[in-house]
């Protein structure tokens, strides 16, 4: 009988989409007048008895949950970053546009100290690399982006990074910025940088972050 099947379908959808378990009364309120909620719940419970998902009643409220015997499937948790934190995103943006850039320069633009966790994440994801050393006192290590960065963002070269014109076209630049506002060209040749030499493997945390790098503060 199709009326019964339809009520079962409705309950199925409602329980599936609900953010929390629903009582029979909750369900009845949202179903067409006269629907036999009890019978439909019993029917559904039966139908799902052998499946990977079961209909369970906890404290008089109903919900779908995965079958107990499959719990082993649900244990694995992968802690891999899918989305960059705001700090990492911002740092990556600066490195991309201002490369080669030193840590001090990143901090100058961001107005906060570069946290160690942020750069670690970017290095670990392979989006950022140590490029060389600036030919200035102290020979600070410079950072730049990697080929993986270009791949991820679908760019064929650094020259493809959208510049000020495109930012304006997308409405990202407002009029309140000074007229001399410019975005550097990351593809331009650099003459004050030495490539990292063979054997010059900067101790990242020492050379770049200094001793005081905060522990992953984002």
């Amino acid at each position: 009988m199709s009326g019964r099947v339809q009520v079962e379908r409705m309950i199925e959808a409602l329980l599936f989409a609900a953010a929390e378990p629903l009582s029979a009364a909750d369900l009845a309120r949202r179903l067409p007048e006269g629907a036999d909620v009890g019978a439909a719940l019993a029917g559904l419970k039966q139908a799902y008895a052998e499946r990977g998902v079961r209909l369970a009643c906890v404290a008089d409220r109903w919900r779908f949950q995965t079958a107990d015997d499959l719990a082993f499937l649900m244990t694995e948790e992968r802690e891999e970053p899918r989305r960059l934190s705001k700090a990492a995103q911002e740092t990556l943006a600066i490195i991309a546009y201002h490369q080669p850039v030193t840590r001090a320069e990143i901090e100058a633009i961001r107005g906060v100290q570069a946290s160690r966790g942020t750069l670690d994440v970017l290095l670990e994801l392979g989006l950022v690399r140590l490029r060389g050393r600036r030919r200035t006192p102290g020979r600070p290590v410079t950072l730049g982006t990697t080929d993986a960065f270009l791949e991820h963002y679908g760019l064929s070269s650094l020259a493809d990074l959208p510049g000020a014109l495109e930012m304006r076209a997308m409405g990202l630049l407002d009029l309140d910025l000074p007229s001399d506002f410019s975005v550097p060209n990351p593809a331009a040749p650099v003459d004050d940088e030495d490539p990292l030499e063979e054997g010059d493997e900067p101790e990242f945390h020492q050379d770049f972050l200094g001793a005081e790098g905060e522990g992953g503060a984002d």
Partner: protein
């Protein structure tokens, strides 16, 4: 097409006015966004395959539309008028007998008409596609995913969310902040003199013997909690002690420059000050 003289029979008053109003390009006539959208709407009313549409009829309809719109004193955008004059020209070419020789680089009028029809068909296809997308099932409007996923988050870990627009936003956001940033040093907090005086007065009974100023001044609380520095405590306590010396409540002595200052309550209050 500039070789041929033609009179579009249109005056450009409305366009001029519109331009003066600064809204020449954002004019919205009956909800049409631009001349092409008007043409499409008119073409649809012919109820034929758009590719086989009568451009002649279309041109007439459009000219009538623009005429009507102008009479209703809409401020008419330049685009509409350019399109109108172009269509009037095209219409005249379609109607006139073909000249023996076409001027160089001018395609036959029929071809131009066919291209217009094709272009309208393209826009129409996109209009219909937009409707199809809008009317299809949409997430959170027609279909819903699990409202309460179980505690275990199963994420597809190989995917990395690289969004160039977000990257640009992140960049610009910082550069803007950079421009807006001002240096605002926080004034150091000082140990108020009144407080130092009151505290020292309270301590007088304990100061029977010579006691080093350093030992009397309060110690700064643990770092990071704010509050005055140790130096401020010492300085304020010294100032307060000098006042008490002047009042005659206290004696002070220092053996040499930069040596520790010692303080002692005077045996009897109320005498003359000691140097």
């Amino acid at each position: 097409m500039s070789q041929k003289p033609f009179q579009p029979q249109l005056d450009f008053e409305a366009a001029t006015e519109a331009a003066e109003d600064g809204e020449a390009l954002i004019v919205d006539i009956d909800g049409y966004e631009g001349p092409l959208h008007v043409l499409l709407a008119l073409a649809r009313s012919q109820k034929v395959d758009l590719l086989k549409l009568s451009v002649l009829k279309l041109a007439e309809q459009y000219l009538a539309f623009v005429h009507q719109a102008r009479r209703l004193r809409f401020s008419l955008a330049a685009d509409y008028l350019v399109m109108a004059s172009w269509l009037a020209y095209l219409k005249s070419r379609l109607l006139l007998p073909k000249p023996e020789k076409l001027p160089a680089e001018e395609p036959p009028a029929e071809e131009v008409a066919a291209q217009l029809a094709f272009r309208l068909a393209k826009l129409d296809a996109m209009r219909r596609a937009a409707d199809a997308l809008r009317d299809g099932p949409q997430l959170k409007r027609d279909v819903f995913v699990r409202g309460d996923p179980e505690a275990v988050r199963i994420v597809s870990s190989t995917r990395f969310d690289a969004n160039l627009y977000a990257l640009m936003q992140a960049y610009i956001g910082q550069r803007k902040r950079d421009h807006a940033r001002h240096y605002q040093p926080r004034p150091p907090e000082a140990y108020p003199l009144e407080e130092a005086r009151a505290r020292l007065r309270g301590k007088l009974p304990e100061l029977g013997g010579w006691t080093a100023l350093q030992a009397i001044a309060p110690f700064a609380p643990a770092a990071e909690t704010g509050g005055p520095s140790r130096a401020s405590y010492v300085a304020s306590t010294l100032s307060a002690s000098l006042e008490l010396v002047k009042e005659g409540a206290l004696e002070a002595r220092q053996l040499e420059h930069f040596a520790e200052v010692y303080l002692r309550a005077r045996a009897r209050a109320g005498g003359e000050a000691t140097a």
